[in-house]
Amino acid sequence: MAKTTLTFALMDPPYEDARSTTALRLVDIAARRGYNVNVFAYEGAVFLPFALQKPHANAVHGLDVEAEDHPQTREWVAALIKECERNGGRLDWLNCGLCVDERGAGDSIPGVRRGTPADLWKMAEESDNTLVIAAK
């Protein structure tokens, strides 16, 4: 039986709404099932794996950097790439190159590649299903 392949098209930047975490939850489920997962990060979503994200302390919580352990979406993406590999699948995370350029978001974590809208079409053609989680 052929391995299930799913494509997700994401559009929201990190730290703005709940759609990013919802999308990554779905990717996580697919990763745990050993599926192949494609992500086409469009517009602000190209910042999800941005390598220069840094944690910070939280004075309101009274916590230093270490105790606050502020999430960075680049860590989540990296963890999902590993989780896919661990379960026999793979996560192909592709950032829209034009979206990267207009935002200066070129520093991505290892495992993220640059592409074009044509790649989304190819991914969708090769997938069992595609889910678009668009910005609202």
């Binding site: 709940a18 990554l24 939850r25 309101v60 919580h61 502020h70 999430p71 999902l80 989780e83």
Partner: protein, 126 residues
């Protein structure tokens, strides 16, 4: 000058930020000496429901350690002397009883809003 922060967009990136950004901003400004109060409306009225908890998020091996504690953050505002108003109709529409919410928030009805807003030279609707 007194400021009223109106919080309407609830649970917006709270998992990533580990708090509500406007509740956090209010804490920070209060700490800096601001005279500031908060009005919860829409889905944000859920922030004052007692007993709520957010389980830590985990993606692969990355486990969150400090998931948001929105109720405690709002209670902390009240403890600092920030008046936290909640719109009663928004509670009712969501099936939230007065007994479901913590002590401290001040329920008011929508028809009270013009009078409330008139007390604040600055009203910021987030």
């Amino acid at each position: 000058m007194k400021t009223l922060n109106i919080v309407e967009s609830a649970y917006r990136a709270t998992l990533e930020e580990q708090d509500d950004t406007i509740v956090w901003l209010t804490h920070a400004m209060k700490g800096a000496g601001a005279k500031i109060d908060v009005l919860m409306r829409g889905n944000a009225v859920s922030y004052v429901v007692r007993g709520q908890k957010v389980p830590p998020l985990a993606f692969g091996a990355r486990q969150q350690r400090m998931s948001p504690r929105l109720l405690e953050d709002v209670a902390g505002l009240i403890a600092k002397g920030v008046a936290v108003y909640v719109v009663n109709e928004d509670l009712v529409e969501r099936g939230i009883e007065r007994t479901d919410i913590i002590d401290g928030p001040i329920p008011l009805v929508r028809s009270d809003l013009p009078e409330l807003l008139d007390k604040y030279p600055r009203v910021w609707h987030w």
